[in-house]
Subunit: 129 residues, 2 copies
DNA sequence: ATGTAGTTGAAAAATTTTTTCAATTAGGAG
DNA sequence: CTCCTAATTGAAAAAATTTTTCAACTACAT
């Protein structure tokens, strides 16, 4: 399970597995690309500072991705590779899994060696056309 | 010239071309992906609020892109299509023009019709390998 | 030259994020 | 199971960032 792996990674690095951290992880597992406020809602009892600290920690160990999709940061579990579609009309955010870079891939670019990438696509969702 | 086009667009939409706006535009033309502080440095005499307002305005009319590359927002003229390489070791930001999506292109994705996209590549720069 | 809507700077307000610090707790050692 | 200790937490304060307010100013159409 996804969460188990993250918990293992926390323990492996000497971090404690606290109820607060578990709560944040479960909140993240419940839905993708959530804003801080949404996470707050799902993590009642977890202090604001702890929420920030936990997201920092999880981002640091690669368990969480911090997104900037247009209005304020969002967070999601970093588990699977996918990209975001942002509707410029209604603001809806959706995902797609078929990475357009899969085929072409990213070889060395100049002297730069890629490790990861993020791709955001802006346009209009089905509903808004 | 790039700036002329933007100035035209401002006028066309009923915005005034003020010395402050020109100063911000020239600052943006001087270098890519600048932080607010860098822009501040190049725009002496321009009030902070005006700088924010101007960047907002220019972003609104599509003349400027606001970037989120890792630590704090950055801004650049939206003129040409390019993407960013972010070195995870030293933080250096560089660009590349050859868009990997050029060939494959982005057709309709599900019901979503793409208008633009942004791609950021994280890895290690030549110097850090 | 004039009038006016748009613009500006400075300060205040609002928002967001980080830090501080005393109290609490997870988890290893015995 | 109990103890111990370093890690963690919450609340409040502080810091950083962004937006708003408002009176004075100015670009530019007429």
């Amino acid at each position: 399970m996804e969460l188990e792996a993250i918990i293992g990674r926390l323990r492996g690095r000497g971090y404690k597995v606290t109820p607060q951290r578990l709560m944040v992880l479960k909140a993240l597992a419940a839905e993708r690309h959530q804003s801080l406020e949404e996470l707050r809602g799902r993590c009642s009892g977890v202090g604001l500072a702890t929420l920030y600290r936990t997201l920092d920690l999880l981002t640091g160990i690669g368990a969480v991705r911090r997104l900037e999709l247009g209005d304020g940061p969002r967070y999601e579990l970093a588990g699977d590779h996918h990209h975001h579609l942002i509707c410029e009309s209604c603001g809806e955010i959706s995902e797609f899994e078929e990475c357009p870079l899969d085929g072409a891939g990213l070889g060395r670019i100049g002297g730069f060696s890629p490790r990861a990438h993020s791709l955001e696509v802006y346009g209009r969702c089905a509903g808004c056309r």
